[in-house]
Symmetry: C2
């Protein structure tokens, strides 16, 4: 059978499936004390945020990935959600271990609060119930829930090949029940390999064990009052047994069954009914501790192993043994508390060395993996080493760190390092690096707000956002339903923009339009030696623009015209207004940000020529190409050659030490300019003019480019030079200098996804 | 001075000015009886339509051009307004002469009615007053009002050169008063040259004169009860004299002064005050009769002459003579009633032969014209001939026609011919032929509704429309504020469109996207010998699309892919759905039109090859290029070569007589297809699906392309293949077969310019 599967499916197909991870984590202050602050409002209503919410406690973050088809993509999602969450909790940190941080008294543990809705009230009441029944501290134990289902094509193939008698739904249920039983039998190995809760703080529990692997999976963890053993023989029996537990008052509802693995349905709010009618949809594995040594709380290696292990469990034949559940439970507790030693475990009633049995299982896993051609020897080798040397386990490592640095310091050093890493990568979204940075900001902000997102077209940065009743499509972050089509066409056409601004009494530079080079040759005279700008009529990003601030020769104007004509069939020659250029980003009725852009420039070191200095400046990791990083690499092109020529310079010129050499007049970020935030410095008047300019083009999202002599002085001369319909937002989010602005938030607010 | 002007100004500048024409015209039935129907509602509120309204009577159309800077453009406006108006009055006609058609009794003449507003009530009351004071029939006499002011640069130049003592406003007033006085002196010549009201119907007046030129300018026309001679010496005296007339009860208000020329101000509702403070803005010449031999009611030659004549009047020195106004009045009446004869006129108290004096004036006019370099000898020669031979006058010619055919028939033949001409040119707008036909439709519909229009960018077909408080920008007829930007981006991207349609349960053909030719080579196998279509991901107009309805070879698919890649970097290979393709045009919540497009085709004559047959079919005057005519010329390109090859044909093939050869699978009008209207035949269900499809892309204006096997049968198989964000409207306005649909009207309704 394994051979047949290998024939039919590629390695990628077999390594795929449906993966979703939930990761809990306590918020704490920099001294490891449990946070008493509210769940940040930026995440919106807790019940409405599908990625970032709380679990039992107000201070217990729950990070939830959407379902992904590869482990890699799922892991990246989790890392993204962690990065986003950790940067929104102010000076707090996310505690990096399953067992809690420094806890207050039981009665000071804040229960998560919810809104006034019926659902909110229910969620709150449930937490009150748990508090009463199990106590508050146990609720703060955090973990990883790994949700998994097989690639559906694989199950269908097995269904056909195995000539199963019965329908596909029954087959699927049988398969998942087999995996469940096998998982329960072998779960002690997962606890050993992935366990990381070997140390515990005195505010939680005084009793400690030197060889512990996972307090969380021990009796000190979160367990039902009575050991409950559901009937896993078939789905109907399973349902009956759960109903029995509730009837007997062992648990209040099916969701209170804290088993190491849960059967999940399509509709988990009506779990038993949905299991009965639609069958098992996926499995939720609940044994995995937070890995203190991974920012996301679980390492990719461990996730890969979980997947290969699941494939093994699917094919592993079972040996019948009546008391298998009790035995497995006992093995679990033993490994959890004494697992660092080579203890004896029970195997169908017989004692077995933990190491021998583990090696046997891993050999089997390797066999399955190899027969399926999964090519995962590295992963299995890694696990084998841990089996052979307990010092390689997460559990041993965090115990050692705690011994050396103390419980709080050891954990806080990790938490602080993870937060720092998140900050350093704050402009990037793992797995979406191919998207424009502006689009990455929108997705990040969507995750923060719990908005569902679907990439409609990667190359085009086209995203569908939905939450509740609201559906919005967004292309390149600022192409949305907020602007009308004709409003964009007005902005796209510089001559029309000017007429519209003129009609509304907003000052613009005077100019003339040319439709052919011959026309320019004939009409160029009035512009010679005047301060002018030569530009294509319809472009974005300032391509093909040449500026002659001090006037220039006929020849240079014709060269500039020639460059401009490369970008459009109509060009503009326009009065050049003295002053600095500011991008005023209007979103709705407000100015969201103001930026001054300094033209691409280099600062001399007295040795390197311009070409070399540009190469050096371009090495800055914040500079990229195609709007994927906050700044763009500087390009030396005809336009900059022409610009330098005006000062008698060329690319070979060696500037003096500290000499600033500008490489073009045009200061767009897209041509290598630097960005400086002026949002809090600009005079109110210019903001009002920018809003009016956007308004008269009918625009809701508009980059208004203005030349202003002194931006702080409302009486200063100024002119509006351009309206941009697809303004880049990343340059405001991450300016070269000044405050970072959350523009994606403004856009999402206006799109109706406000968290207020 | 004339020499200096010639040095400074070009011929074009001197021939320019500000021109506006009002033309009245009675609506009548096909037997020349005055209409009793209401002013058509398509023109909206009379007082709110600046182009098409009524004068005194409900049946008296008043056509008003906007101000234009050249005679040519002004004349074309007038012709356009005539064409638009005459095609909206059902089976009625516009009476082509100043003196009325067959009139009912005085008490049956319908006074124009207005809406309930204060302004409307005032307009109605004023007409009641006129009816009482002058009778109804006289009010039906129609004419041309020629509104004119000089090129402002010319007046400013004269002001400087003449070293006028006083400010520019006073100078301007003086100049216009001089022109006014001179015009009054020489107006008899205009009445002779342009007069065309030499015959009269018995229902109007029994008394007739054999040598009449213009009953309208005679005592049988519309004159004040008492001859009134305002003081034209300066503007203050003029104002005083008018106030005097009102005070003395000769007239009720300044607008009741029926002088042959009127001084006009910026604000004509507060005429005297505006004249006093802002000066004379322009002159309104009121002597010109309707020219029965010109559709517009006045010929371009006559308009050119009026302009040269005005320049002459500006420079002509005056000889002081006390009774000049009475003399001019007498000359007017004499020429109007006896003008066909060479009568004696009074010139400063002396009798002069009409012909000699006319020749003298025209020689002077020619001198001025030549010294200014106006190059208008043809026009002056034309007028000289009329002076020398009265048989060349409009007056003589309409008199002759009436003698031959009878009064009613002679006029109705002209009226019918004009309406027919208007119908034949119904898709074109004079002076806007360079615009796309769709944009011409929007402007025509705007004129019909009295919406102000301004071309923002000719090349881009970008128009600003405004009426009352509403301002809308429209590009290419259907790019408007009605659609959001992202809605357009959804439609532009075929893959995204499909996802959106699929998400909303609207059937689309299955397909695969390719981003490189190599990917196609690798992935082509599943499509060989299947019914497929190969197309670029993002194009309009169906460029680069190849359809293989019966499947084809790998090689042909690769060729087709290669063609598609010329138009986009991503292409789609898609299931081909059997059936006919329909364009369902959704505007707002309604289907405005449904069209089946037949692919470009030729019908054999048994002799010509395909190449020749295409040439012949392309000679149809309804076929053009670039959407400027209802249909597009057929092009023979790679795509059609490939298509023909599938049937073993090429361009040299000679089809049998009546053999239909299709030249491409794709049936877009833009690639030479034929259009057949199905709006009233399509099953309701498909309309509903089209509306839903547009709705889920968020579109208000959307060309939904559907393949339907039987369009009349709601149970017929179908699929939605494309949503178009800039649907052409002209093909629905003027289909190859079927009913013409006024789509521009639907668009303007939705833009808020409804006439309802």
């Amino acid at each position: 059978m394994l051979h047949k599967i290998k024939e039919k499916f590629s390695k990628e197909q077999l390594m795929s499936g449906n993966f979703g991870i939930e990761r809990e984590g306590l918020r704490c202050d920099d001294r490891g004390l449990l946070s008493h602050t509210e769940h940040p409002h930026v995440f919106g209503e807790k019940l409405a945020n599908q990625y970032i919410t709380t679990d039992f406690s107000e201070s217990q973050l729950e990070l939830i990935t959407p379902v992904r088809n590869t482990i890699d993509s799922c892991y990246k999602c989790l890392e993204n959600i962690y990065n986003i969450a950790v940067l929104e909790i102010g000076s707090e940190y996310i505690w990096p271990q399953s067992m809690p941080c420094n806890l207050p008294n039981e009665d000071k543990i804040p229960i998560a609060t919810f809104d006034d809705s019926e659902k909110g009230q229910e969620a709150y009441d449930y937490r009150r119930h748990l508090l009463k029944k199990y106590g508050g501290k146990k609720q703060l134990v955090s973990g990883i829930h790994y949700n998994f289902s097989f690639n559906e094509d694989l199950l269908k193939f097995l269904y056909e090949e195995m000539h199963y008698e019965g329908d596909y739904k029954d087959f699927k249920d049988d398969m998942y029940l087999k995996v469940t039983r096998n998982y329960l039998r072998y779960r002690w190995l997962i606890i050993y390999l992935l366990g990381g809760a070997s140390v515990i703080h005195s505010t939680y529990e005084d009793e400690t064990y030197n060889d512990a692997l996972s307090y969380r999976n021990s009796v000190f963890g979160y367990v039902n009052d009575v050991e409950l053993y559901p009937n896993y023989t078939n789905i109907d029996n399973y349902i009956k047994s759960i109903i029995g537990f509730v009837r007997d008052g062992c648990i209040d509802s099916p969701k209170e069954l804290y088993s190491q693995i849960r059967l999940k349905a399509n509709d988990n709010t009506n779990l038993l009914s949905s299991l009965k009618h639609e069958g098992i949809s996926y499995l939720e594995y609940r044994s995995i501790d937070i890995n203190p040594f991974d920012k996301a709380g679980v390492s990719k290696v461990d996730l890969y192993f979980m997947h290969i292990f699941n494939l093994y469990l699917l094919f592993k034949e079972e040996i019948p043994y009546t008391r298998w559940q009790e035995e497995a439970q006992q093995n679990q507790y033993n490994v959890a508390i004494y697992g660092q030693k080579n203890i004896q475990l029970l195997r169908n009633g017989e004692k077995t060395s933990k190491i021998d049995w583990a090696i046997e299982i891993l050999d089997d896993v390797r066999n399955v993996s190899n027969q399926l051609g999964l090519d995962q020897d590295y992963i299995i080798f890694n696990m084998l080493n841990k089996v052979k040397d307990y010092k390689l386990t997460h559990a041993y490592k965090i115990m050692t760190a705690t011994e050396n640095e103390g419980y709080i310091t050891a954990h806080m050093n990790l938490a602080k390092a993870y937060k720092q890493q998140a900050y350093e990568k704050r402009y990037q979204l793992q797995g979406y690096e191919d998207l424009e940075l502006s689009t990455q900001q929108v997705i990040k902000e969507s995750i923060k707000r719990g908005i569902d997102f679907k990439i409609m077209d990667r190359q085009e940065n086209f995203v569908k956002l939905s939450k509740g009743d609201i559906v919005q499509y967004v292309k390149q972050a600022t192409k949305t339903s907020l602007d009308t089509y004709v409003s964009v066409l007005i902005m796209e056409n510089k001559a029309v923009t000017k007429q519209v601004l003129d009609d509304n009494g907003i000052p613009t530079p005077k100019g003339v339009e040319f439709v052919s080079f011959d026309d320019v040759v004939q009409g160029v005279e009035p512009f010679v030696d005047k301060a002018i700008v030569v530009k294509p009529k319809s472009t974005n990003y300032g391509l093909g623009i040449s500026i002659f601030a001090n006037g220039t020769s006929k020849e240079d104007i014709l060269n500039a015209a020639e460059i401009a004509f490369r970008h459009d069939k109509t060009i503009l020659v326009e009065e050049f207004i003295q002053g600095k250029e500011y991008r005023i980003l209007v979103i709705g009725n407000e100015v969201a940000a103001v930026l001054h852009r300094v033209p691409a420039n280099v600062i001399g070191d007295g040795k390197s020529n311009i070409r070399k200095l540009v190469d050096i400046k371009n090495m800055d990791p914040a500079r990229g190409t195609g709007h994927k990083l906050p700044l763009e690499k500087i390009k030396l092109d005809d336009n900059s050659a022409l610009f330098l020529k005006q000062s008698g310079l060329d690319f070979e010129y060696v500037p003096q030490k500290d000499e600033v050499v500008y490489l073009r007049e045009n200061s767009n970020i897209s041509t290598g300019g630097d960005s400086v935030d002026f949002t809090d410095k600009i005079a109110e008047k210019f903001k009002e003019i920018a809003i009016k300019a956007a308004r008269c083009a009918g625009a809701n999202i508009c980059g208004v480019d203005m030349i202003i002599e002194d931006v702080t002085d409302p009486s200063s001369p100024f002119a509006t030079i351009e309206l941009n319909f697809n303004p880049a937002i990343h340059m405001h989010c991450y300016p070269y200098q000044g405050k970072e602005r959350n523009i994606a938030g403004n856009v999402l607010d206006l799109l109706g996804f406000s968290t207020k």
